[in-house]
């Protein structure tokens, strides 16, 4: 084939590509609508599940905030023990207080004076 008879490159390029310009697919629109419905349903499920997860997280947080922590429990236990001990101590001190009534009434300074006086 000589150059004069060779088909035009540009013409063939146009013709070849334009043959593939439109490729209609039978039933494609229906397939797309089905796929879009499935996608819509899936996204709705994802939205709801993420909402449910967030709500559950909120409930757990509220429960955690409301229930006393280990530290608080420890503090409360210590306070209870301390109150019990203080009651026992108060009882004991109450006896001591009663005994204090029997203690001799003497001033420290007068005893010192007596001891310091020569020949006493």
């Amino acid at each position: 084939m000589d150059n004069a008879n060779r088909p035009s490159f540009e013409r063939d390029l146009d013709a070849s590509l334009s043959r593939g310009r439109e490729v209609p697919v039978v039933g494609f629109a229906e397939r797309v609508v089905t796929a879009v419905r499935a996608d819509r349903h899936r996204r709705k499920l994802i939205r709801w599940s993420s909402f449910a997860t967030a709500a559950a997280a909120c409930v757990v947080t509220i429960l955690l905030v409301q229930s006393p922590s280990e530290e608080t429990l420890n503090r409360q236990t210590v306070a209870l023990v301390a109150r019990e001990e203080s009651t026992q101590l108060a009882d004991l001190l109450g006896i001591v207080d009663d005994l204090s009534l029997l203690a001799p009434v003497a001033e420290k300074s007068s005893i010192v004076d007596v001891l310091a006086t020569p020949g006493s």
Binding site: N3, R6, P7, F9, D12, L13, D14, S16, L17, S18, R19, G20, R21, E22, V23, P24, V25, F28, A29, E30, R31, V32, V33, A35, V36, R37, D39, R40
Partner: protein
């Protein structure tokens, strides 16, 4: 229906349909797909070289279009927007699979009233063009497909490819030269 297929999509009608799609109207979506899918599949087939992959990607384009319907602002033609989504998907596909388009296309020649020899020649030429186009760098391939196959103006191609018009012109020029070189057995040296 056949007339509707060959008719160029009306932009105003596309806008109206997109608004309906945003409201969840499946009939509007069906009509939009019917109007645009043939060109979209044609373009994608030119890009990826496989009918099955082209249909798969076209499906994904329409799913994304449906998701974006509420946010879509009709600043550009819908057909341009569709090809823009398609091109991004093609780029993702190549990145994900690390592959280039297949060179062997299942090409169906339309013999019409041509002689058998002529039909064979058309098929042979088409296959040669498809193989050569598959060997082009991605930007050149997209640009030549959009300008020659889809008959889009340079401005629309620049918008789709997010580059200046000058880059589009350069890629098209290089693509033609490269194709000429790859097809020198058919057309002789450039």
């Amino acid at each position: 229906m056949a007339q509707e297929e060959t008719m160029l999509p009306d932009d105003e009608d596309d806008k109206r349909l997109m608004a309906l799609v945003a409201d969840g109207d499946d009939d509007a979506l069906r009509l939009l797909v019917h109007r645009h899918h043939a060109r979209l599949v044609g373009y994608l087939r030119g890009e990826v070289g496989s009918q099955a992959t082209a249909e798969e990607l076209a499906m994904e384009v329409f799913i994304r279009l449906h998701r974006a319907a509420g946010r879509w602002r009709p600043e550009a033609k819908l057909s341009t927007y569709i090809i823009h989504i398609a091109r991004n998907l093609v780029l993702n596909e190549w990145r994900r699979r690390g592959r280039k388009p297949t060179t062997a296309l299942e090409f169906a020649a339309e013999p019409g009233d041509q002689s058998q020899d002529s039909a064979r020649r058309v098929t042979e030429l088409d296959e040669a063009f498809q193989r050569a186009i598959a060997q082009l760098p991605p930007e050149q391939r997209t640009a030549i497909l959009l300008v020659v196959q889809q008959e889009l103006p340079y401005e629309d191609i620049a918008q789709i490819m997010e580059v200046p018009v000058s880059s589009v012109k350069t890629w098209i020029h290089r693509a033609r030269s490269r194709l000429r070189e790859l097809l020198k057995d058919f057309y002789g040296p450039a």
